[in-house]
């Protein structure tokens, strides 16, 4: 697998797109999706919710486990991906594309997000 160069990554296996008019897209990496296995349920923050970097904002369930979803940045949720709620397998089949989770108008961003190369080295894949 390869991690798209244009994204930035958290050490906790999330990706964040560059802001366009202040709005970034958030998802989980292919490495994380593979580790989780088949995702069967996704609970996302709702439009208008304020998410805070490092705090829970949803959950992902796979066959064997449930994982909390944390926001990589602080801001206001402007869109949640209804397609991935309806078909959670998009997280596995297209984690960097159709399996994106939510869009956030960022007000504050941590300074230690990783580049694609740094994340590849960090995650080993």
């Amino acid at each position: 697998m390869s991690n798209p160069q244009q994204l930035r990554y958290s050490k906790e296996h999330e990706w964040l797109s560059d802001a366009q008019e202040g709005v970034s897209t958030v998802g989980i990496t292919e490495h994380a999706a593979n580790a989780l296995g088949d995702v069967v349920f996704v609970q996302l923050p709702e439009v208008g919710d304020t998410v805070t970097a490092g705090e829970t904002c949803g959950e992902l369930e796979s066959t064997k486990s449930v994982s909390d979803l944390y926001s990589p940045v602080t801001g206001e949720v402007v869109e949640a991906n209804q397609d991935v709620v309806d078909d959670p397998s998009l997280v596995n089949s297209a984690p960097f594309e159709g399996g994106w989770l939510f869009k956030v108008r960022t007000t504050e961003e941590p300074k230690d997000l990783l580049s694609a190369d740094e994340y590849t080295e960090f995650s080993g894949s």
Binding site: S10, K11, E12, H13, E14, V26, I28, A32, N34, A35, L36, G37, D38, V40, F41, Q43, A53, G54, L60, E61, T63, K64, S65, V66, S67, D68, L69, Y70, S71, P72, V73, N92, P110, D112
Partner: protein, 392 residues
């Protein structure tokens, strides 16, 4: 900092402490890119790709499993039957040559130490039985049997390293196996086993499994395991067989309503508490009817009649959140039971669970039953087990 909390994986995908044991097929699994997991001290394939695809393949075509972690114990000697009847809850004396029996071993207080399959391999002149224990309990079963053998003219042999175990499960499995053996599979009934040769490899061929499908378990020498795996893959791939990991094995057995030790079966429960009192035989083909746990089990049988304990039931979600082992079952805001196993069911397309619930809420269709999923009471339908039964 944002994070996906991978450390919460139930099977500890990322957290391996001590060096696990490897099966004879370890290299095969790695070559296939399997996600491995530590299971009862063994490094086992959790899944090769999508566990849902593997599950569906077993239901509709076939799956090939490495189950070499299971614990084989051989019992021989003139008093093998008397010894096993004394040590186990079933009537081993009624197992015919070449047949197998699902049974249990309990402690003196009736608590379940493990559930087992006993295969009768030898004729009356040379009694030989193979006891197959769960990997997590194999040492306890071996130690317990060894201790209970005192005073019997019977030998208990640790054969855990003598066998690799491959399972071919699913509707295509008879055809796949037939292409590789001359053994008379048509007359090999469910819960029977016979020695034979598969793909040139000597094997004990058993028609047993843990998936709810027709299928076979093949006990072979570890040195032959890879040769047999490759032959099975070559024969099975054209008809849709895929390698299948422990993750789908768990959802397959859950749909089939089959108990798993540590979940539905524990040392705190008797077979009667688990709804499996039928495996206990108070009258045995043996010198005496005495067996370990007899008095406690007789009392448990009576209790199950007069004051029914919690009952093992099936639960089907109305929503999509998945119940997990340990979650509370609730009704009218009160805890009325506990989930023992839960998973998204690929066949039903909904989350399902097995749970022990108070007798008054155990009837199928009982209204108002839910599961407490992280603080939210999600509605669930009470159903009789199993969730899935294959069409024969």
């Amino acid at each position: 900092m944002g994070r996906i909390d991978l450390a919460r994986h139930a099977l500890g995908v990322f957290l391996m402490s001590t060096a696990p044991r490897l099966t004879a097929l370890d290299g095969v699994h790695r070559a296939l890119g399997a996600t491995m997991t530590d299971f009862a001290g063994w490094d086992m394939p959790l899944r090769y790709g999508s566990e849902r695809d593997e599950h569906n393949a077993v239901r509709t075509k076939a799956g090939l499993f490495d189950l070499s972690h299971m614990g084989e114990i051989t019992v021989t000697g003139p008093e093998a039957v008397d010894f096993l009847n004394f040590s186990l809850v079933g009537n081993v004396g009624s197992i015919g040559v070449g047949r197998a029996r699902y049974t249990m071993i309990v402690a003196e207080d009736g608590g379940i130490l493990d559930d087992l399959i006993v295969y009768r391999l030898g004729e009356a002149e040379a009694p030989e039985y193979m006891v197959v224990a769960n990997a997590s309990n194999a040492q306890v079963v071996l130690d317990t049997l060894t201790a209970r053998a005192e005073g019997f003219d019977a030998e208990v042999r640790d054969d855990r390293d003598a066998y690799a175990l491959l399972a071919v499960q699913g509707p295509e499995s008879p055809g796949i196996l037939k292409s590789l053996t001359d053994a008379d599979l048509d007359n090999l009934k469910y819960y029977a086993g016979l020695p034979g040769t598969v793909a040139g490899v000597p094997a004990l061929i058993a028609r047993t499994g843990y998936t709810g499908e027709d299928g076979f378990e093949l006990f072979v020498s570890p040195g032959d395991a890879e040769k047999l795996w490759n032959a099975l893959m070559e024969a099975g791939t054209p008809v849709g067989m895929v390698p299948a990991g422990l993750s789908c094995r768990d959802t397959l057995r859950l749909e089939a309503g089959m108990p798993l030790y540590g979940h539905e079966l524990t040392a705190e429960l008797t077979p009667f508490d688990a709804g499996l009192g039928r495996v206990v035989k108070f009258e045995k083909t043996s010198r005496a009817d005495s067996f370990v746990g007899r008095e406690a089990l007789a009392a448990a049988a009576e209790r199950a009649e007069s004051a029914p304990p919690r009952k093992l039931v099936g639960l089907i979600a109305e929503g999509r959140r998945v119940p997990r082992a340990g979650f509370s079952v609730v009704a009218d805001g009160k805890v009325i039971g506990e989930v023992t196993s839960g998973a998204p069911s690929p066949t039903l397309g909904k989350p399902i669970a097995m749970a022990y619930v108070d007798a008054e809420h155990a009837a199928p269709g009982t209204p108002g039953v839910g599961v407490d999923i992280r603080g939210t009471h999600e509605p669930y339908e009470v159903v009789a087990l199993p969730f899935y039964k294959r069409q024969k």
